[in-house]
Symmetry: C2
Amino acid sequence: MPNPLLIAPQWIVPVDPAATDPRDHDRAPRVLTDHALLIEADRIAALLALGEARQRYPHAETLALPGHLLAPGFVNLHAHAAMALLRGVGDDLPLERWLQQRIWPLESRLVGAQFVHDGALLAFHEMLLGGITCVNDMYFFPEAAITAAAALGIRSVHGIIVIDFPSAWASDAADYLRKGLQLRDRMRDEPLVSFCLAPHAPYTVNDGALRRIATLSRELGLPIHTHVHETREEVEAGIAQHGMRPLERLAELGVVGPELIAVHAVHLSESDLRLLADAGASVAHCPHSNLKLASGIAPTARMHELGITVGLGTDGSASNNRLDLLGEARTAALLAKGDSGSAEAWPAARTLRAMTLDAARALGMDDRIGSIEVGKQADLVALDLSGAELAPVFDPVSHLVYCCGREHVRHVWVAGRHVVNKRQIADDSARVVIHEVVGRTAVWHNRVGEILSGQV
Amino acid sequence: MPNPLLIAPQWIVPVDPAATDPRDHDRAPRVLTDHALLIEADRIAALLALGEARQRYPHAETLALPGHLLAPGFVNLHAHAAMALLRGVGDDLPLERWLQQRIWPLESRLVGAQFVHDGALLAFHEMLLGGITCVNDMYFFPEAAITAAAALGIRSVHGIIVIDFPSAWASDAADYLRKGLQLRDRMRDEPLVSFCLAPHAPYTVNDGALRRIATLSRELGLPIHTHVHETREEVEAGIAQHGMRPLERLAELGVVGPELIAVHAVHLSESDLRLLADAGASVAHCPHSNLKLASGIAPTARMHELGITVGLGTDGSASNNRLDLLGEARTAALLAKGDSGSAEAWPAARTLRAMTLDAARALGMDDRIGSIEVGKQADLVALDLSGAELAPVFDPVSHLVYCCGREHVRHVWVAGRHVVNKRQIADDSARVVIHEVVGRTAVWHNRVGEILSGQV
């Protein structure tokens, strides 16, 4: 498909960033009809009435999308993409057995650049088919994930992972930091790649490393992406070891500020919530993962009341076997209502914002992505709402959140490039890459089976 | 596609009814590979090793389905199909405003045979595309829903609805019962149609009518399908009015027995749970609807502990905008874990049973449907697990519950008839019917808009 390109869908939902009062986000969002959007190079070059568009750009190639809704591409605020290769190996197990009998033995034997590359290819492919245009990933061997992202054309943020324990990737906290920062330097000219600091969790990173991360975050302007208060046991163990709640300790070490993306944030006291709100920190809410591991239900209705920016994450395939932000969004909206007792919590418009602009804001990228505005990157998703299974359409935003599945994602653009065309990966070479990795996945499948059965 | 037909998928998951100990249902189910299933007329005529099948049926037409899982068709244990025409008209509203400002004004103006027919067509079409082969429906003008079901070939159970209030369909409880029983008589030769008694709810049906329903249920062998303990307010109001909990009142009136399908069953005390368990009653669990209306979270992990048969329902489109049992199943499995704190609650195998055999048992139809057994009706769904977004497949049953979406449902058979072929309605005339109803939906759409804006 040529570029510049004029897209003329039935509805455009810009996810208006002008509304800065959090209470405004619950209102019905602006939905444009009879409008068109012009992609030029990697950007949204125009957003205007269809008649005017035809006059001003008479020679632009036009993609008419009757019955389609055009929205900002979805932003996956927390993932471990490589773990797609472990999809479904540890279902229905309590967290300890899940970690000790499945995930850790497998990771210790398998993780390396090839594992990360192949798993990330599978995960990014799945995400693109579901309209995810930007993913915030945290795993070992991030360079291999970057190679996978480049092959498919997805925008990616990579955690400079820091953990006190050695792995095949690095030996100690200082080594993790050094390798991650070196990679960041090498990637500085890659327009679709960016970085954040990713201390694994308060209970796996020492005070000194956390202080250093807080300093680096300020110096380099990098977000800090960390698991926090995922389980009750984690909070209790933190209190036992440090005499304070993990979030209090992070605050003391300088980690809790606007740059913090607190992943999970399930077990929060009112004072934890106020700490996050006062600091301007964000939350990466992963409802399916939190339910599947029986961690609990994050107090997301209260987060919105306090004005905390909440984005959505799929987490990795080992704790959430389907990497689908539309599914997370529907569950997030429903769970917020059911858990808080208020059907007005997490209305559709606010939920769409969590999938897009609020996640972009958490990543410090809302100047470039997360909404449909002239000058922003052309990261877009077109959903086909014309099927009988979606009729009637009273409100396309309600349909996006409460009705749509991955089967309705028909076109995806990242930085102006058409990456998904009619539900298929558009690029020939990317399709070959996916075909090849599916072949290699059979080999990974066998190795996993051998390890779990104690054969190797 | 001709019949007899030999289907040769990669995996067959029979959902073994032999396991009668509830604790067995949590174990890994039998998964057959290198097997084939023979459909002859409306039945499963054989289930045997592939080699043997080729020898015994050398001339049978064969459908090879590499990478596919063949499972029993899904059974939707609670629906209000006609409400598909109200999909998304009342999102994000508290229950009272939802009912008083949206649902009741619209129903009072719109409900009639044509509304029910058109809404049911949309709903049954959506259900079939998602692998639902049998639906337990409750609404006014059931004859119109039966016409819609026949046009698409879905198996349906229709509630003989009883409510103390007049509607366009009937004037009082006795009239509802009379009309419903007459319809049942007229439909006695329809192989895909059956009935249950459907008192709307304890708070909308008087004692005399409920006693009469209990008697009729025993005389005619009909299940009783009723909303019960959906909200906290309902339970409190029941206690205030009758001096006992609604379920206790139903038990006194003879309604709580093995024939009872208690829909929602969200707010249950331990004694309520034991009452249901001791009576051998079943529950129709509707997780998305209960969350969306902020009713709460049903104690489904405890239900399984007590051996209560739990099926899954989509409810109507006004409280759950997507009629998708795969989505309900995933949420049911995840929610049971997150709410109970045990990741072992509602494992995949047990969840698949809730989608199939347990729902069939609740309807008293487990002698005919709900599992893959020779002699049972050929109600089947084939899911395509070969896509890169599902690789690797360690456990196809885990994939069905935790990964699959409607996009993976590729073939559906009801009573041996191929109703969905490669994700499309197979029958030409059924496709015409759907095309026509989508056209009429635009008219319904306008009428809803006029009513809600006070124009008519």
